[in-house]
C-alpha cells in the first residue's frame, strides 16, 4: 500500500472521529413540553415572548438578571431566566431561540438569539407597519385604517 493511501485512511478516520465526537454533543430544537421532559438537558427552545407577562430587568438592582415568560407554538408557557443583560430587541422580537436547560419550572437560559421582523420581509402588512417615514398618518393610510 502506498504512503498516500495510508495517509488518506488516517485522515478519513480522523474526520469520522471528529464528527462522531461532534454528534455526541449535538442538541435538539425543542418545545416547552419536550424541554420539560428533558429536564436538565441542554436544548434549544424555540418560542416567543409572552407579552402578557412582565419582563423583569432592573440593571440597578442586578444587571445580570432577566426574567420573562416564553410561549411556544403549542401554547405552552415557561418562565425564562437569563443571567445576563437584556437583549435590546427582546420586546420587538417575533421569535426567540433560547439555549439552555429546564431546571424544574424555570428555563435557565445561557444564550438568546432573537429573530426580529426583517426589513426584507415580503409581507406588505409587516413592511408597512414598520414604515416610519412620515409619521402615523402615513402608517394609517398604508394600512387602510
Amino acid at each position: 500500500m502506498k504512503k498516500m493511501h495510508i495517509i488518506l485512511l488516517v485522515v478519513i478516520a480522523a474526520v469520522i472521529a471528529g464528527l462522531l465526537t461532534w454528534m455526541k454533543d449535538l442538541s435538539t430544537y425543542d418545545t416547552v413540553a419536550s424541554a420539560r421532559r428533558k429536564d436538565g438537558r441542554f436544548v434549544h427552545l424555540i418560542a416567543r415572548l409572552d407579552r402578557s407577562a412582565p419582563v423583569v430587568y432592573d440593571p440597578i438592582k442586578d444587571p445580570n438578571f432577566l426574567s420573562f415568560h416564553a410561549l411556544d407554538s403549542l401554547g405552552q408557557r415557561t418562565q425564562v431566566v437569563y443571567r445576563n443583560a437584556k437583549p435590546v430587541d427582546l420586546e420587538r422580537s417575533e421569535r426567540v431561540v433560547m439555549k439552555g436547560r429546564m431546571q424544574g419550572e424555570i428555563f435557565e437560559c445561557s444564550e438568546i438569539v432573537l429573530k426580529c421582523p426583517s426589513k426584507y420581509t415580503e409581507d406588505p402588512g409587516v413592511q408597512m407597519r414598520r414604515y416610519e417615514g412620515a409619521g402615523s398618518d402615513t402608517a394609517a393610510a398604508l394600512l387602510g385604517s
Binding site: I7, G18, D25, P63, M128, G133
Partner: protein
Amino acid sequence: MQYEGEHLWIGHLGHFCTILSLVASLVAVYAYARSTALGDQPSVAAWRRLGRVAFLIDAVCVLAVFVILYAIIYNHWFEYRYAHQHSKRSLDVQYLLSCFWEGQEGSFMLWSFWNAVLGLIVIRTARQWEAPVMAVMSVAQVFLASFLIGIYFFDLRVGSSPFVLMREEFPQAPIFRDPQYLYKYLVDGNGLNILLQNYWMVIHPPVLFLGFSSTIVPYAYAIAGLWRREHRSWTDQALPWSLFSAGILGLGIMMGAAWAYESLTFGGYWAWDPVENASMVPWLLLVAGIHTMLIFRSTGHSLPATHLFIAGAHILVLYSTFLTRTGVLGDTSVHAFTGEGSTLYGHLLLMIAVFTAWPLAWYLRRRREVPVVREEEQMSSREFWMFIGSLLNFVSAVYIIILTSLPFFNRLFGSRWAIGEDVSFVYNRVMLLVAFVIAVLTATTQFLRYRQTPRGHVRPRLWVAVLAALAGGLLVSLSGILDYNVYGAGFQAGIHITLWASLYTVFGNAQYLFAVLKGKMKAAGASLAHAGFGLMLVGILISSAGKELVSRNRTGIAVPGLKDARGKDENPLENVTLIHRAPMPMGRYEATYTGDSTDPKGDRVYFNIQFREIDSLTGVTVDSFVVTPNAFLVKGEEGTQLSSNPGSKHYPGKDVFVYITSWLNPDNIQDTSSFRMQPALEGDTAFYSGGYVTLDRLIAANRHNNKDLPVVDSAWLAQLTVHASDGRTFSAEPAFLVKDGLPAVKTDTVWQQNLLLTLGRSANGQIEMGLRETAAATRYITLKAYIFPYINLLWLGTVLMVVGFLVSAWHRVRGHVRAVKGVSGR
C-alpha cells in the same frame, strides 16, 4: 391613474440594461464556446470577436445598472423599492454605497460588476486561453444577470429586479390611490440598518465580493485546461490568479472580522458564525489548491487534487451564498438575511448544480488523459509535506462546512438537530490541532527540497528558528497570558504548543527570507505570507486565550447554584451597571460614567466612560483614559430600543473594549409620579425625602424689558440649590418659557438625588416650582468590558499575509510575461 413626481424612465432604462446584459452574456457564452470547440478552424477568430463584443456589451450594461441604481439611491427617489427600503434622506453620503450591499439585488450586482471587470482583464491578458475561460465566466454572468431580471415565467418569478416600484410591490396599499403619494407619504425611506453604518461596511463588501468573484478565474482555467487538453499550461495563469484571489478573499474576510470587532457586540472578531464560516471555507480550499498547484508545477504530482481544490473553492463560494442568502440558516446566524430569498432557493441550487456538474463532467471525460505520476513522493521531499498541509486544509474545510450546513440538513431531512452547548469549542478544539500541524509544516517545509532533501540539509538551517521559537514561546507561556483553564489541561497544553509552533512559523519564514532569499523581495511573497499567517495565529491565540473580562460583576446579587454544565467554572456575571458619576471598581480599573453626548443628527449617543488604572500598592493613578462606546436609538413598534456599538481604547499591546448592554433613555421614562407644584417666591423652601430645595433667585424676562431675548416672548428662570441631608449641595436651573403664545418648560434634573425640578405657571398666572422624585431618574448604563491583549498582532499578520499573496501573484505574472515574450521573441 397619473402619479405625480415619479422618475419612471430611469427604472425602465435600468431594467432594459439588466435584460440586455442577460442576452449579451448568453451570446458571449455561445460565441466563446463555439470558438473553443472549433479548435483550429479559421472561423475561430470571428466567433471570438463576437464573444468579446457581447461580453463588452454585458460589461457596459452591468456598469450602467450600477450607476442607475446609485443615481436612484443618491437622488432619494423613493418610488423605487430599493431606495425606500435601504436608504433615507438623512443618511450620510459615504454610507449611500452601503445601501447597495444591504439588499440582495445590490450584492448580486456587485458580484456581477467584479465579474465583468475580471472578465475584461482576462480578455486583455489570457491570449489563447481567452475563449474557454471567458465561456465559463460568461455563464456566471448569465446566472448573475438572471438574479436581477425579476421576470415571471408563468407563475415562477425569476430573479428580483432592483428597479421595482413601491406601488408595484405593494399594489393593495391605500396610499397608491392618491396620485400625490410621493409628496404626501413616501417622502422618506426606511433607512439603512445601523450596523451597516460603519466605514468598514463601505469597503468590506466590495473587497469580499472581489475575493468571491475572483475564485471563478482559476476555476475557469481549470475547466479550460481539461477542455483544451492542455493539462499543464493552464496553471501558468491560474496560479497568479489563485494567489490574487486568496489574498483578496483573505483580506475581505478579515475586514469583516474587523467590522464585527468594531461594531458588533458579540465581543470579538470571530464567533464561528455560519456567515463567517461560509466565507472562510472557500479560502481554505483555495490555499490548498495553490499549494498542490505548486507541487504539480515542480513535480507533476497532485494534479487531480488541484482540480478538486480549485473547482471546490468556487463551488463553495456559490454554496456559501446559498446558505447565507436564502434563509436556510434560519435561527443559527446573527446575520439577519432571513426570509429574503425564498425565490432564490431553487435558482441558486441550479447555479450550484451547473457549476459542479461542468468541471466534473470534463474531468470524467478526460480522466484517462490527466497525467498522473506513478512514482511515490519521498518522505523527505517538499511536495510530500506540502500535500499533507493542503490535505489538512481540505479536511478542516470539510469539517467546518458540514457543521455549518446542519440547518440545511435539518431542512432536507426534517430533523431538528443543533450544535450543542458550546459552539465555539466544537470548532476550536479541532482547529487548534490543525493550526498546530499547519504552523509546524509552514516553517519546516520551505527548507525542504522538491523530490528529495539531502540528509543534513535542514537541521543546520533551522536551528536558529527553533531556538528563537522555543525562547519566545517560553517567555509568553511563563508570562501567564495564555492561562485559560476553561476546558481543562489538554486544551490549555494545546494552546501553548500551538503558540510555540506559530512563533516557529514566524521565525522560520523570517529566516528563510533573510538567509536563503537574501531579502530578495520579489521572490519573498510566500515567506511573507507564511510569516504573516504565523503572526495571525499568534495574535489569535494570545488575544483569545488572554481575553480578560474586566466587567466581572462582584456587586450584584450572588447567584446560588449557577454552575457551568460541566461543573468547572462558575459562569462569570459579565454586566456591570454604572450610575452617573459614581466610580465603580472594575477589575484593575475604576470606571466612571462621566456623561454622554448626542451627535447632531440626534440618533446616536456617545457615552464617556472614564477608566482609571490605580496601582493597588501605592494608590497612584497609573493610567487614565476615556472610552466612548455609542448606541443608537431605534424607533420600533414597542418604543425606543437600543442598538449598541462598542468603543475601544487601543494600545500597542492591548485593546480595552467596552460596549453598552443596557441603557435607560431619560426621554423614555414612563414615570407615574407627578410634579408637586408650589408657588415660587425668592427665598422659598421646598422639602423632599432626601433634603430640601431653596429658591435663590427667580429671574423674569420678556421682550419689553430685555431686547436680547430673541426667540421667546417671555421667560422665567429659577436658580435653585438642592441641599441633600448628607450635606452635599447641588444647583439646578429649571425654566419656563412662552413662545408664540405657547408655554414650554425646561426641566432640570439632579441625578444624584433622583430629583426632577421644573417651573410652571398656575391657572391664575402665578409662577410655580415643582419637584418630582423618581427612581427612574437615576441615570445609568450597563456595560461589558474586555481586554484583548496583543490583538494588533492579528491585524499586522493579516496585512503581511495579504501583501505576501499579492507580491507572489505579481512575481508570477512578471515571470509568465517574460517567459511568453522570450518564446515569441525567439
